[in-house]
């Protein structure tokens, strides 16, 4: 629902107050009337008045004096001076004192409608602007990550602090939450930012391959090792070594890694020279390491070695306020990458995005937006451009009663048919009256659609 627009009419003539109030109420405005300046001032504190329509000539305080008082008490309230007897002097005086407009009774209805709509529109833009500025400040950006979730902002703050140290960081979170992005951010915030950031995915390789990937190997260390090769630890030099999916490495490799972390030196496979480690190590996993320890799949001592500074990134479904922000972020990014000019996502599509549970987290959202940007034909991404695995609601059908499902289904059909009752009733296979009854029973209301 749009917020109510409050209008205060001040006129000593009852018939003017009554007729103008009635005319404005028909347009959906909240209207109150006062018969003189003193009464009007009494009403000022009660509401956020958008507009005061003030008669120029009133016994006691005149319209100009009242306008001065209103502007002192409520500077955001717009004042229109009304008069039956226009003179250039009063008009000039009123405008100089800050009246938005000076209108002579009687007024053409079309012009009055237009004037009021313009005022409301203007005020809405001013408010929206203030709101957006405030939101912009609230939102937080850390390199390629954006969020306004308080938990994430705490993490961002933590990252800035820990980046200065050399401590090992353990980043935990479901897949797609941005563990590598966060690790890169730590790297970029650290004094090592000009050194390499080397990433190793521990899940992708077999044990022996991972070993040589990490530590490197000497020539002839194993079949096929026809020349010596540096491992990722060496390549990271004075930079950052990012060990992704650390929870997936074998127990043997866990032991090797523990020794390396403790001694801060290692040997290449098949080599005997100790090579010192100068890089900063960040490990990440989507597994519950404590549970893995209980099950004997992860060494407890390695866990404590890694868990010096622990960061847990919350999944997207618990920080849905970030969805619009991320969408905007991805749209901006793909606009640049694809050379497109997409402005955003229509409100109904945004609602689909908000309703979805995002098991694949921000990465999944990025993929959905990327695909939508490819297929969309217009400037806005529409519902049909999104390829979400399931319709929202369907995935959450468990635990819902039949009537809840019915309500949801009717709401959906009405939305799809833009609240065309006849068409919706046809789709639902019921008659118009039954549909009306169900709308009333479930208290369904047409949702406001943004003009996009």
């Amino acid at each position: 629902m749009e917020p109510k627009v409050n209008i205060l009419i001040v006129d000593d003539e009852e018939i003017v107050r009554e007729s103008l109030a009635s005319w404005l109420k028909e347009d959906g405005y909240e209207v109150e009337a006062a018969e003189n300046g003193a009464r009007a001032l009494e009403r000022l504190p009660a509401k956020d008045w958008n507009l005061a329509m003030v008669d120029l000539k009133m016994p006691g305080m005149d319209g100009i004096q009242l306008m001065d008082e209103i502007r002192k008490a409520r500077p955001e309230t717009i004042v229109i001076i009304m008069t039956a007897y226009a003179t250039v002097d009063t008009a000039v005086q009123a405008m100089k004192k800050g009246a938005y407009d000076y209108i002579v009774k009687p007024f053409n209805p079309e012009d009055l409608s237009m004037t009021i709509r313009k005022i409301i529109e203007h005020q809405k833009l001013v408010k929206e602007n203030l709101y957006l500025r405030k939101e912009l400040k609230k939102q937080y950006r850390l390199h390629d990550m954006v969020s306004k979730n308080h938990k994430m902002i705490e993490i961002f703050e933590l990252v800035k602090t820990v980046a200065k140290s050399n401590s090992i960081v353990l980043v935990q979170g479901e897949s797609g939450t941005g563990k590598e992005l966060l690790s890169r951010a730590i790297h970029m915030e650290s004094p090592r930012k000009d050194e390499p950031f080397v990433s190793v995915s521990c899940v992708a390789l077999t044990e022996s391959l991972l070993e040589s990937e990490l530590f490197g190997h000497e020539k002839g260390a194993f079949t096929g090792a026809d020349q010596a090769r540096s491992g990722k630890i060496e390549l990271a030099k004075n930079g950052t070594l990012f060990l992704d999916e650390i929870g997936d490495i074998s127990l043997k490799l866990q032991m090797d890694l523990l020794r390396v972390l403790e001694q801060r030196e290692f040997q290449r496979v098949g080599g005997n020279q100790m090579i010192p480690i100068n890089s900063r190590i960040i490990a990440a996993t989507n597994r519950d390491l404590k549970k893995a320890i209980e099950e004997g799949r992860f060494r407890e001592d390695l866990y404590y070695r890694l868990n010096v500074i622990s960061v847990h990134i919350p999944p997207l479904r618990v920080r849905k306020e970030d969805i619009p922000l991320l969408v905007e972020h991805f749209v901006d990014r793909f606009n640049i990458e694809m050379g497109k000019n997409v402005e955003g996502v229509v409100e109904s599509a945004m609602r689909l995005l908000m309703d979805y549970s995002w098991p694949g987290n921000a990465r999944e959202l990025r993929n959905v937006i990327e695909r939508a940007m490819v297929v969309t034909k217009g400037r806005m991404i529409l519902d049909a451009d999104l390829s979400l695995p399931q319709a929202p609601g369907v995935s959450e059908s468990r635990g819902k009663s039949l009537s809840e499902m019915e309500k949801e289904h009717i709401r959906q059909v009405l939305k799809e048919n833009r609240w065309n009752i006849i068409r919706s009733a046809q789709v639902l296979g019921i008659d118009r009256v039954t549909l009306y009854n169900k709308i009333r029973k479930y208290e369904l209301k047409k949702e406001q659609v943004l003009n996009t």
């Binding site: 018939i15 007729s19 103008l20 007024f107």
Partner: protein, 171 residues
């Protein structure tokens, strides 16, 4: 004077469209004191007050139809006026006539416009406010052009709102 035939047609149309019983009352004299001499128009708010005093006890809504040009003090003219969520409303056919705009009289066009404005004011009586849909009856018309552009029906959401608000009397 409003031709009887037109009032009968209006009565039948409102009855069929709203599924509510509709009857036509005897014509009221135009209230003294509603005439604004310097404007040569009639004050619709004053007439509305008078209509209220004449409303029969069993009437849930009452619409006055008048052939005088209506105004309110602040506006140069109005096509009609209604109490929002109240009982009474009034519609003037003066500016709905083709001849007001220098054209040949056309009862068909006049009746179409009258139906739209009567349903519009009744909509207000049932608590509906102006609609943003330019083709909906509840769209604010400031000109006959606006009136002619509207359909003779409410949009989906105004229709459902009206249906729900008028239902207590439909049974």
């Amino acid at each position: 004077m409003i031709p009887d035939a037109m009032l009968t047609m209006l009565q039948d149309h409102l009855r069929d469209y709203l599924s509510l019983p509709v009857r036509t009352m005897r014509a009221m004299p135009v209230p003294e004191g509603s005439y604004e001499r310097n404007r040569n128009q009639y004050n619709s708010t004053r007439i509305l007050r008078e209509i209220l005093t004449e409303t029969p006890a069993d009437a849930i809504k009452i619409v006055g139809v008048i052939d005088k040009d209506l105004c309110i003090p602040i506006l140069t003219f109005v096509f009609g006026e209604a109490q929002l969520g109240g009982v009474a409303s009034i519609v003037s056919i003066a500016r709905l006539r083709q001849e007001f705009h220098g054209l040949f009289p056309d009862d068909g066009i006049l009746f179409d416009r009258l139906v739209k404005e009567a349903l519009h004011e009744l909509g207000h009586n049932f608590g509906l406010i102006h609609c943003h849909d330019r083709e909906c009856i509840m769209y604010l018309s400031n000109t006959v052009r606006d009136v002619d552009r509207k359909r003779s029906t409410y949009c989906g959401s105004c229709d459902s709102a009206l249906y729900l608000k008028s239902e207590p009397w439909r049974a």
